[in-house]
Symmetry: C2
Subunit: 493 residues, 2 copies
């Protein structure tokens, strides 16, 4: 049967990708600097091998044949994902992929210096070339998938999502979020949190991080915590590698970074293990992945009941200064402050950063604006959303992110989709378990919380499309009102 | 040109092997236990891929064509090694390789328990099957290479070496080594070394180990030190991963283990970097590899001048107890005591363990003895060499090593060849630099010592056959008299 041949082919791809995932972790977490050149060559060789295998000429026929074969529902879902990945791998001509990869590396490499130097004039021509090639990519993908160009890019990260729908969803946020930000910041102006006084030894931070991972049910028989300069969640579902970075002067953000990556890790560890190797066993989308990390970090990790739970662990490692009391931890973690930098943003202002980028990249890819228009539009939108100016400040404005430098247009919405899915799932979980998340934490019922996610999200992998997954879990399609309700409850009650 | 095609093919194999080397290190040093099954599958998939590439049908023609092409001397040496590796990969039928691999896994797996239980009766039938298949391998290899069966196995580890020559060389050792062992042990009976009193915290042992690696010129930009249950030197020449294991009660053997692996690592780091990826840039043989680790460990690391050099480092980490004074360290490290276990043996008795095994495996592979004969022969040879009995004690006798369980017949001689090469190279180095190794260390001239090895061994990779390499470095072919002179000078002077 052709379907069986496809399954075997996927299994083989999966095993070889495993080696790349581990070597990628190694490169970021432990590799000595001098090993980099040979490692990059080895990884590129593997990428070439995988690309050749993913675009093997017999796959078109196998897929066509398999579509006519009698398959179970799960097999059909798997075939659907196999076909989707095969289309993504084959629909672009090799020389375009290579040209974009080269232009992306060049732009990203120069950006690392140009950003520090606030050098928009140097950066713009490189970005123009990346945009030019990305538009070609989007156009070709759009033709093949019969969707709009930007939607064809979205499909790489959030299959099924469209800009028409994002316009509605993000338009809704635009109605209430600016006012909410104003209300929260006004209210918080009355009290300031105490700042914890360090140093916080790195070995203690690491031990604390592992304890908190343990509370969150991270499976240490199938994963590790290590250090890298840019935290990530990598490895394979049977061996998930999360990383963080430490700073002796500060543990608050590093600890919550571990909680965030633990959310990603539990999703990976919870994917259907008996199906591993098949696309149907993979995470559903970047938005759903981010919903799991944000569930851990924001819904659960920032809940005062959770901070209450970990406060004794913090005290055991760092002593009992007033700044480490549960109430002050809550005040610290729930502090809302409009700022220029997306990655430093709190959960209330974060969507503003994302929607701003979404609007720009959507119009950029579809040719309604040009690279030269970005700085002025960025400044206007920052004024509108957060009342801040980035005029002349490219470094902390439109040059702050890496995403566009290598052509990852369509990625940004995942962050806010993730936040909305996380809120929606939390309310569904509370209805199902008959108690608020805070109560569940206080009652020591974290296993029930994660059991619900396992049951309703993790175990399904990619068996359903995103809408169906969310509908089965929460009773309705994506609805931004749950994020609103969460934020209003937490910050205005 | 066919030669160019072969070079590209090798480069590709090298890059893919890189991934396997790093994932192998990961598996031994950091992987959580639950990751093992998927990892084993991923590694097996890579092995299959590499085997397919190494036995690709076009290689025979490319090699034949390349042999007729105009090549530089270095290219010709590379082609020679390419052909050798290709022969090794192709000359056995796949089902024999698989059968031996299965029988070996089964024998090794059961041996881990059987050894503990001293269960020779259980072990013997498994070993018989491994021997039966290994004889088939040896016969087929012997026919293809036109050499004797055992020599065809030797060629896997020590190309160019023959049992006829080993008989002469080891026969020579048989003349003087038993007497030397007697003389040394009699002399040492007069004084006993003091035993250092722990605990020796692991973090301190690790810091000390890294300091000593630094003294030995280990390049930390191209390598790391980590922990594994069986110490090894892995990774790739641009990123060499050595491991050790620690025990809080003891640092003496762990530290010297690090010195040993550092010797392997410096050889790898010193291989001709501009040729990496080609077989001519690989280490010459297992014996030469071991000569570099034993040069570091035994010739250099056990020299009182070196112990003098590291004594202050030891004292800084572990305090100044009398047992850590340089003279007592020398007495500890140079203690000679006939024992049953090879891996615990000192440099004077070690060759006895190796020659005993060599004689047995040579006769086993060539059908002159059977598995059932081993225990009695083992006991007789232990009596003859070291005056010890292993009657009924299989665990500490013929069941102590892993090598035969998976069919690695022909490997054991490398250990003692390495010790002899190391001694011969040391005397050559002393003639070239005009001072004894101890003097060179005392004068702070370790860079000259390693510079000489770089010049005379490392940089040549596999450009010359082993005899030629040794002749160019030392002025003569392998000569066991240098090991004798070294041992007599060190232990009887
Ligand atoms: Zn994330
Ligand atoms: Zn060794």
């Amino acid at each position: 049967m052709s379907y069986q041949q496809l399954e075997q082919h996927q299994q083989r791809l999966y095993r070889l990708s495993h080696l790349g995932a581990i070597c990628g972790w190694d490169q970021a977490a432990v590799m000595p600097q001098g090993g980099n050149e040979a490692r990059a060559e080895a990884m590129a060789e593997l990428d070439l091998l995988l690309h050749t295998a993913r675009t093997a000429p017999q796959l078109a026929q196998w897929i066509a044949d398999a579509e006519a074969e009698p398959l179970s529902e799960l097999q059909r879902a798997n075939l659907h994902e196999i076909k989707r990945q095969w289309q993504d791998a084959t629909l672009l001509p090799g020389d375009l992929v290579e040209a974009l990869s080269l232009a992306g590396s060049r732009c990203e490499h120069a950006w690392r210096r140009q950003r520090k130097e606030n050098d928009w004039a140097g950066f713009a021509p490189n970005l123009e070339e990346v945009v030019r090639l990305s538009r070609e990519v989007a156009t070709l993908r759009a033709e093949a998938l019969s969707v709009r160009p930007y939607d064809a890019m979205l499909a790489l990260y959030e299959p099924g999502m469209t800009s028409a729908r994002l316009d509605v969803i993000f338009g809704d946020l635009g109605q209430w979020l600016p006012g909410l930000i104003q209300d929260v910041t006004t209210r918080q102006r009355q009290t300031q949190p105490l700042q914890p006084r360090g140093p916080f030894p790195i070995a203690s931070q690491q031990a604390l991080g592992q304890e908190v991972m343990g509370l969150l049910g991270f499976d240490f028989a199938h994963g590790r915590l290590d250090v890298s300069s840019h935290p990530f969640c990598g490895g394979v579902p049977t061996d998930v590698r999360i990383t963080t970075r430490y700073n002796e002067d500060e543990f608050v953000s590093s600890l919550m970074g571990i909680v965030h990556e633990t959310g990603h890790a539990r999703y990976e560890q919870g994917l259907p293990r008996h199906l591993l190797g098949q696309p149907v066993a993979e995470a559903r989308s970047m938005g759903i992945h981010e919903s799991q990390s944000l569930f851990c970090e924001m819904q659960l990790g920032h809940d005062p009941a959770f901070l209450n739970l970990i406060a004794p662990h913090i005290a055991r490692h760092f002593g009992t200064q007033p700044a480490l009391a549960p109430e002050n931890l809550a005040r610290l973690y729930l502090d809302v402050k409009p700022g220029l930098i997306r990655v430093d943003a709190d959960e209330v202002t974060y969507p503003a950063h994302v929607i701003l980028r979404y609007e720009l990249e959507r119009d950029l890819i579809e040719g309604r604006i040009e690279v030269a228009d970005i700085p002025e539009l960025w400044d206007a939108k920052m004024q509108q959303w957060l009342g801040l100016s980035t005029k002349g400040n490219y470094r902390d404005g439109c040059m702050q992110d890496i995403h566009w430098t290598d052509g990852s247009f369509g990625y940004f919405p995942s962050y806010t989709l993730g936040a909305m899915y996380a809120a929606q799932l939390r309310f569904a979980l509370e209805r199902a378990l008959g108690a608020s998340l805070g109560t569940l934490v206080a009652q020591g019922r974290l296993a029930d919380v994660f059991g619900w996610l396992q049951q309703n999200v993790w175990q399904h992998g990619s068996a359903f499309d995103t809408d169906e997954l969310v509908r089965r879990a929460s009773g309705e399609a994506l609805n931004p009102q749950w994020l609103r309700q969460h934020l209003e409850q937490r910050y205005l009650k």
